[in-house]
């Protein structure tokens, strides 16, 4: 792989579009050509109504889905196949149920060829950082939803990826746990500032966490309709920040943009039903 260049953004989508071929042979243009970049060390949240293709776009950056047109550049280098510089935190349950928390975390290092003892030591220190040192020997089914997410976060960060991709990672959690997970994420992220692309449908969560909030329209042919910086200083407390005037201002503006799309996506749903 060629050396990444320093002044290129960590992630750059150039005219990326996604078209699905449906079972009846027709084509469904899910995402219209989109340009988007995430700078090194930048935390970008991608917000849009349910089913707008934001997760698909994330999968394109991960290399799990190849775009129908356009291309993805990672540190200036065109991506083909799985993105080796990215770590991915999934919305759904993605831990290996037959492995303990510790083995789940060390797995990503072991498959890379890190010696077992070293991999386990590093995994242990990551479990400590997410506050689960005492749960190393538990199996996923013995952990709560929030604890599983913490293990997942440790599993991803343990491999020290340059880019962090997150697909509504805290979606299934209850409100309190979400806030706490948000704080934990920011705390871990501030240590080495990876490029983050965070997909969510929760506008408040997006503003509280991100440097920039990108808004997508409803599908089909979803596109980017807004790109807003979040000028709230860090470090942030993801709960406290929601009460500040800046937050409320941004929230009002963005919700205005988003609301029409959400309603449009409901109409889409009715038409399909």
């Amino acid at each position: 792989m060629p050396e990444p260049s320093a002044n290129e953004p960590a992630v750059r989508l150039e005219g990326v579009s996604i078209t699905y071929r449906l079972a009846d042979g027709s084509r469904y243009p899910a995402v219209a050509p989109v340009d988007l970049s995430v700078a090194t060390g930048e935390f970008v949240a991608l917000v849009g109504p349910t089913g707008c293709g934001k997760s698909t776009l994330l999968n394109v950056v991960a290399g799990l889905v190849s775009p129908s047109t356009g291309r993805v550049r990672i540190d200036g280098v065109a991506l083909s196949g799985i993105n080796p510089r990215a770590g991915y935190l999934f919305q759904q349950e993605a831990l290996f149920p037959w492995k303990t928390a510790l083995d789940n975390v060390s797995l990503g290092l072991e498959v890379r060829g890190v010696p077992k003892s070293e991999a386990r030591a590093r995994a242990r220190s990551w479990l400590e950082r997410v506050g689960l040192a005492a749960f190393a020997d538990r199996y996923p089914h013995q952990l709560s939803g929030g604890q599983k997410k913490r293990v997942g976060l440790a599993q991803v960060l343990c491999r020290d990826p340059a880019i962090l991709l997150m697909d509504e990672p805290f979606g299934p959690l209850d409100a309190q746990t979400r806030t706490i997970m948000g704080d934990l994420l920011l705390e871990l992220w501030s240590a080495d500032r990876k490029a983050v692309l965070f997909v969510t449908h929760d506008l408040e969560e997006a503003i509280a966490l991100a440097d920039r909030v990108v808004i997508m329209s409803a599908g089909p042919e979803a596109r980017i309709i807004g790109d807003h910086p979040v000028p709230i200083p860090r470090p942030r407390d993801t709960h406290e920040v929601r009460l500040t005037p800046t937050f409320l201002d941004i929230h009002r503006t963005l919700w205005h943009e988003l609301r029409a799309e959400v309603i449009k996506s409901y109409r889409q749903g009715e038409k399909i039903d």
Binding site: F90, E93, A94, W98, V111, R112, H141, R159
Partner: protein, 260 residues
């Protein structure tokens, strides 16, 4: 554990009720002992068989046949299930034949196996294998096919190559499905062995029952069934033990898991 105690009490009561009904049915002439024997006679006969030692050889033979049928059938089932699940075309080609063979009542194969493998243990093992193989095969096939796509995506994002995915993802998934079918598989291994013995052999529990039937010895038939039942319960308990050891990661199916 109070409820456990109460449950055991009722279970024993049902057994006693059944035995009393059987016994007094004979005493009052409703159940002819020639056709139905008597519970006490069955117990005495079983006890004597164990004390005199004649039963041990037969138990041993049936046990060996069961274990061999289980091991060979399981290994074959895991390999075939795994292999076909990972090869779309191959599985599509073989699917109808596998279903056809599996739909066939295995009893009809017993005479052919006796012809091919002789009257020793191997014809019984073969019969058991044809039963075990398909149970394990379908379980593993389904298990590998239905590995969560999210788990596959996560494995790929963690940088696993094809071989590592096999080791960390598909194999554990397949094995967990195999263990899920463990009780059924072991049960069918035993069925294969006993049915095979029953239809033609010189030793084993099935042979004992068949011999007793041949001489209208109803007590002997019931005694054989009793030994068989105890044998099945013991093997099943053993399987449960093995399962507990091997599947620690599996959530407990009953409501004992109140860990918060």
């Amino acid at each position: 554990m109070r409820s456990r105690f109460v449950l055991t009490f009722w279970q024993i009561l049902v057994l006693l009720g059944f035995l009393l009904f059987w016994h007094f049915g004979g005493v009052f002439g409703y159940l002819d002992p020639f056709f139905f024997s008597r519970p006490w006679d069955v117990l005495v006969r079983t006890w004597n068989d164990f004390v005199s030692g004649v039963i041990w050889r037969h138990l041993w033979i049936t046990l060996v046949e069961t274990i061999l049928a289980f091991v060979i059938g399981s290994v074959g089932g895991v390999l075939a299930g795994f292999w076909l699940a990972r090869r779309e075309l191959l599985s599509a080609v073989f699917q109808p034949y596998l279903k056809a063979v599996n739909a066939m009542p295995r009893v009809v194969l017993a005479p052919i196996f006796a012809l091919w493998f002789g009257l020793g243990i191997w014809s019984k093992v073969a019969l058991g294998v044809t039963l075990v193989f398909f149970i394990v095969f379908f379980a593993v096939f389904q298990g590998v096919k239905e590995v969560s796509p999210v788990l596959v995506a996560n494995a790929r994002m963690l940088g696993m190559n094809e071989r590592q995915m096999l080791r960390h993802l598909y194999l554990p998934a397949a094995l967990s499905w195999m263990f899920a079918s463990l009780h059924t598989a072991v049960g069918f291994a035993l069925v294969g062995a006993v049915v095979g013995e029953y239809l033609g052999s010189a030793a084993g529990l099935g042979y004992r029952i068949q011999q007793a039937e041949g001489s209208f010895d109803v007590t002997g038939v019931f005694s054989g069934m009793l030994v068989l039942a105890i044998f099945v319960l013991l093997i099943d308990a053993l399987v449960t033990l093995v399962e507990r050891r091997l599947l620690v990661w599996r959530p407990q199916p009953v409501a004992t898991g109140i860990q918060g």
